[in-house]
């Protein structure tokens, strides 16, 4: 997982995940989860093709901003153990 510091925008430029029209309503659970999945899928695909994972950093930033830390930790632990329920 990339360091958040590497993704820091230049001073004076704010960044927070923009409005995602796929998830326009109050329930943003899927928004967080989808970006988490997309990040890991992107990483896996880029690694498999031998390319740089730089484009995947967008998904990392979005899920890092949206998902509660405890959820991310739990999912990361599950991925390590091989018990993660999502398809990556």
């Amino acid at each position: 997982m990339s360091e958040v510091r590497a993704q820091k925008p230049p001073p004076g430029k704010w960044w927070t995940p923009p409005f995602d029209p796929r998830f326009p309503n109050q329930n943003q659970t899927r928004n967080c989860y989808q970006n988490f999945l997309d990040y890991h899928r992107c990483q896996k695909t880029m690694k498999r093709r031998g390319k740089s994972a730089q484009p995947c950093e967008y998904y990392f930033r979005v899920y890092h901003s949206l998902c509660p830390i405890s959820w991310v930790q739990r999912w990361n632990d599950q991925i390590k153990e091989g018990t993660f329920a999502g398809k990556i």
């Binding site: 960044w15 927070t16 995940p17 659970t29 509660p68 830390i69």
Partner: protein, 176 residues
Amino acid sequence: TLMIVFLISSLVLYIISLMLTTELTHTSTMDAQEVETVWTILPAVILILIALPSLRILYMMDEITTPTLTLKTMGHQWYWSYEYTDYENLCFDSYMTPPLELDPGELRLLEVDNRVVLPTEMSIRMLISSEDVLHSWTVPSLGVKTDAIPGRLNQATLMTSRPGIYYGQCSEICGA
């Protein structure tokens, strides 16, 4: 309460019986066309005048704006934890100050040990969830109340126009 029910029903029945058993009759023409028209049209107009701004506000509430900051809050029994993760991982717990530990002038049951600090005049995305049971995060003066449901991430938008201290209390029964 039953006494009041009996009282009111007996009063109504008495008035009905009075109306039915009178010997007086109305002898002049019963023409009330003008007043009937007025008191039908006028309330309708008043209701429309109320409804139009109300609908405007209703749709304004669903306005989509791009926020400038995201703040996550997780409800626990019985404190809130806040996470600012747009840049660094800043997270802290916020417990209510027990009444015995308050300084003079502080508000009972409202003060906390670590306050949430937010910039003014910026649209802030609040993501609210819970780590154990149902809670509800609210700041009445900012017009925000959103339930904190474990396993679900609820979004609310905040915007303060003035600097100041705003208080709120958990608005969902969350345990003994």
